[in-house]
């Protein structure tokens, strides 16, 4: 479903991505882990099109999307949940989701109020992520955990084929983490999910396969149990790995 080949991205002299290659299958749940600065968020930014790569290419369902703008990739079924919440603060939870629902129909519909079906769909999604009863609350007054739930609802409203989750449990209490993990685990199996996470329990619970990023490269790629036992991965996290210049 997603194919990334020799992806490179430099900032000045810093090589954030130094030849990243990985392939995520249809319906697979892939975790991307690695120490801070390994390039995980940069990888996501290149995948969504917010950052152009300095080399390599990106494919979605076989089609090359390296040159496409973010909104074009979204239309092709790529959705993202951001690390730092990116919502429409003064709008209600319902309106936040409705905007995502309406994106498919296109915005150039003027002179009529938005169809009720959009708001009904929004409410259904809010219920699905556990925000029933909070539909009218403005996004900015929601708690941190509730906002992450809302983010998920917004992303799901895009009816994506691929979902990119950028540290979905960051800053959450154990109870909230458990709830979000259950939610993600219960998502449609046809959905391909790429998840960046630091919390290993979440990774082991959700992922089919794991890719380990270090200094802009994939150093290990395998099932959860394979990665668990991989010495290189341990070294990377404990700082013993020697940098490949």
């Amino acid at each position: 479903m997603i194919e990334v080949r020799e992806l490179r991205r430099s900032f000045g002299g810093v090589k954030a991505l130094d030849g990243v290659t990985l392939t995520v299958g249809d319906g697979e749940r892939r975790a991307v882990i690695g120490p801070n600065g390994a390039g995980k968020t940069t990888l996501f930014n290149v995948l969504t099109g917010e950052l152009p790569p300095t080399g390599g290419d990106v494919r979605l369902a076989g089609a090359e999307i390296t040159r496409l703008r973010p909104w074009q990739r979204a239309r092709l079924g790529l959705a993202r949940v951001y690390q730092r919440t990116e919502l429409f603060a003064p709008l209600s939870a319902r309106e936040n989701v409705a905007l995502a629902v309406a994106a498919r129909a296109g915005p150039y519909r003027a002179f009529r109020a938005p169809p009720r079906s959009e708001y009904a769909a929004a409410d259904a999604l809010l219920e699905r992520v556990g925000l029933a009863g909070r539909e009218n609350a403005a996004a900015r007054i929601l708690s941190h955990g509730e906002r992450r739930q809302l983010e998920l609802a917004v992303a799901l409203a895009q009816r994506p084929r691929v979902l990119l989750l950028d540290e979905p449990t960051a800053g959450m209490s154990p109870a909230e983490t458990a709830r979000i993990t259950e939610l993600i685990s219960g998502l449609d199996r046809a959905l391909t999910i790429l998840i960046v996470e630091h919390d290993m329990d979440v990774v082991f619970r959700l992922a089919d396969r794991v890719s380990v990023l270090h200094e802009g490269r994939v150093i290990a790629d395998g099932t959860v149990s394979e990665i668990r036992g991989d010495v290189r991965v341990h070294d990377v996290y404990l700082g013993k790995a020697v940098s490949v210049a």
Binding site: E86, L87, A89, P107, P114, Q158
Partner: protein, 319 residues
């Protein structure tokens, strides 16, 4: 108040507004109030169009007078060069010229934001002003375009002050209704999204560049309509109609009244016009008053009069 009652009240106000010169003749025969109200409504249309950019789309523009002046000149020049007074023709000329200007300027500014957008729109509008000021052969140069005739519509001559007023008031009502319904539609909701978080809108699949450009052109066209009405009313177009002073004036109206609403720009136009036309004959420091009022709103009531009203209403509602 029920919804139906609200509509009836609005309709009553609308009718009263359009027929103002006829029922006010009893207590003011000098037509001063009619003239001031007429000019207020012209600027209300202008301010409403700017609010599409400033309040709804989140694109602060200090160059909106380019479309107002452009429309004014187009209407005036069309009526003189084409030798016609037909309203549909001269108004169409104004809208067309304004739309074209807005498209060109819009394409150039649509990727900027914040202070850069402010300065870019200012600079580009100055080009329009400079052309108006110096292209004497076409625009009359620094002396302006004089002798703009008032239009006729389907044979009805609209030169008389009360008829001119009706044209302006009717146009104002149409424009208000248009913008109101536009902002409630998916299009308006998308603009709100762009204003609040453009990055997220792109991630959702909206082509925000095209959305912003379309808003720019729509706002420009409506400003052009206001400009044409100004040309007819004053029978005169000056380069200042495209200048920074006019742009600033509209911005002040939007902010004082309340950006992002329908009532806001209208109230703002009323307040500013009142200060400039009525207060100015009573006291010599009217512009100073305007400046101080504006400063006050920026500091203390950023959401304008409408914002103050909403806050007061909320306070009353839930103590």
């Amino acid at each position: 108040m029920t919804r139906a009652a609200r509509w009836v009240a609005l309709a009553a106000v609308a009718v009263g507004l359009v027929t103002f010169p006829y029922w006010s003749a009893a207590w003011e025969s000098s037509r001063f109030a009619t003239t001031v109200l007429r000019d207020m409504l012209v600027f209300a249309i202008f301010a409403l169009s700017l609010d599409i950019l400033v309040g709804h789309a989140g694109m602060p523009s200090l160059g909106h007078a380019a479309f107002f002046g452009g429309g004014a000149y187009a209407a005036g020049i069309a009526s003189q060069r084409l030798g016609t007074d037909q309203l549909p023709i001269t108004l169409a000329a104004a809208v067309l010229v304004a739309a074209l200007l807005a498209l060109v300027i819009g394409l150039l500014v649509v990727r900027s934001e914040g202070i850069f957008l402010l300065m870019l729109t200012l600079a580009l509008a100055q080009i329009v002003f400079a052309i108006a000021f110096q292209w004497t052969a076409v625009t009359g140069g620094s002396n302006g375009l004089a002798g703009v005739s008032r239009p006729t519509l389907f044979g009805i001559d609209l030169s008389a002050p009360d008829r001119m007023y009706v044209l302006v008031a009717a146009t104002f009502l149409v424009v208000s209704l248009l913008i109101w319904s536009l902002m409630r539609s998916p299009y308006g909701r998308a603009l709100t999204g762009v204003r609040e978080n453009e990055r997220r809108m792109r991630a959702l699949g909206y082509d925000t560049t095209r959305l912003k450009l379309s808003a720019f052109v729509v706002a420009g066209m409506i400003a052009g309509v206001a400009g044409a009405l100004s040309a007819y009313s004053q029978r005169f177009v000056s380069p200042g109609d495209a200048g920074i002073g006019t742009s600033v004036q509209a911005f002040v109206m939007v902010l004082i009244g309340g950006a992002g609403t329908i009532l806001g720009p209208v109230l703002g136009a009323g307040v500013v016009m009142y200060i400039q036309r009525v207060l100015s004959s009573a006291i010599p420091v009217s512009e100073t008053v305007l400046g101080l009022v504006f400063i006050g709103f920026v500091l203390l009531a950023r959401q304008g009069i409408v914002g103050l009203g909403r806050a007061a209403y909320a306070r009353v509602r839930a103590p």
